[in-house]
Amino acid sequence: MNVPSEHLLVLAAILFAVGAAGFFLRRNVIVVLMCIEIMLNAANLSFLAASRMHALAPGATGPSLEGPTFAIFVIVVAAIEAAVGLALVIALYRNRQTVSLDALTDLKD
């Protein structure tokens, strides 16, 4: 594949923007968590784009492995975040019978 790595970075930026938009606009907690997953995916993609950029540069000697290593860490953190977030959603639904973020204004009142 001869696509320049900058295009990967642009794709990552667009995906991050879409995820951030959903994070700010949606009020459903579960969809907000999904938007966080999209943003983490975009971060992963930019790690891999940077790794590819270095590995395929003229004069490079071997693969650049920092990017994939941190991408794996990010995947693990995403799984942890989803598990904790969804447990919180279940606890919220048990107490309030809703998953809307607008119901959570206890600290404001």
């Binding site: 990967l8 995906l15 879409v18 650049s64 994939p68 959603v89 279940i90």
Partner: protein, 184 residues
């Protein structure tokens, strides 16, 4: 051929992510998220990150999405009647204006950075074993990054405990203990 597939998958990933943001029903959001993950895994594969593509499918599509589906079905949010009414004013004029400004700024910064950085030429052919050979990844993870690896394993353990505590049904003080089988 591979280039064309990359652009198709890139457009597909963006459209699927937009679907997550715009879909009314949480179940449709999950399905769009699944499409987005598969498109990204294809992109990883095209770029030469074979192990990462497999991990993306296994962890995201296999574990995280199943968690989301489990919660949505458990809370019975997939019905058309249980749509969240607060999302109706998602595209009020103020929200739309803010998002357009932020998106324009982000794209401007990205274009500027791409111009400033200049074009990085591709000087080598892709190695046969891809860009994330597993022996190399293993020696990184158990060599230079051993401390983060151990930290993240402790984090996983703490998460397992925390999720159990959070999701456990707490008993009110006056409630009697469940009797082990001698119910009246």
């Amino acid at each position: 051929m591979a280039d064309a597939l990359f652009y198709v998958m890139a457009i597909g990933a963006v459209l699927a992510s937009l679907g997550v943001v715009l879909a009314k029903n949480p179940m449709q959001c999950v399905l769009c998220l699944l499409a987005s993950f598969f498109a990204l895994a294809t992109i990883y594969l095209l770029c030469g990150f074979q192990f990462l593509a497999a991990a993306q499918i296994l962890v995201y599509a296999g574990a995280i999405l199943v968690l989301f589906l489990f919660v949505i079905m458990l809370l019975n949010l997939g019905n058309p009647g249980t749509e969240d009414p607060t999302d109706v004013r998602m595209f009020s004029r103020a929200n739309s204006a803010i998002m357009v400004v932020v998106a324009a700024a982000l794209l401007f910064v990205t274009a500027l950075a791409a111009r400033r950085a200049g074009h990085m030429p591709i000087g080598r052919a892709m190695p046969e074993e891809g860009l994330d050979p597993i022996p190399g990844l293993a020696s990184e993870m158990f060599g230079r990054y051993l401390l983060p690896f151990e930290a993240i394993s402790v984090l996983l353990l703490a998460t397992a405990v925390a999720v159990l505590v959070l999701a456990k049904r707490e008993r009110r003080p006056g409630e009697r203990q469940p009797a082990g089988g001698d119910a009246p």
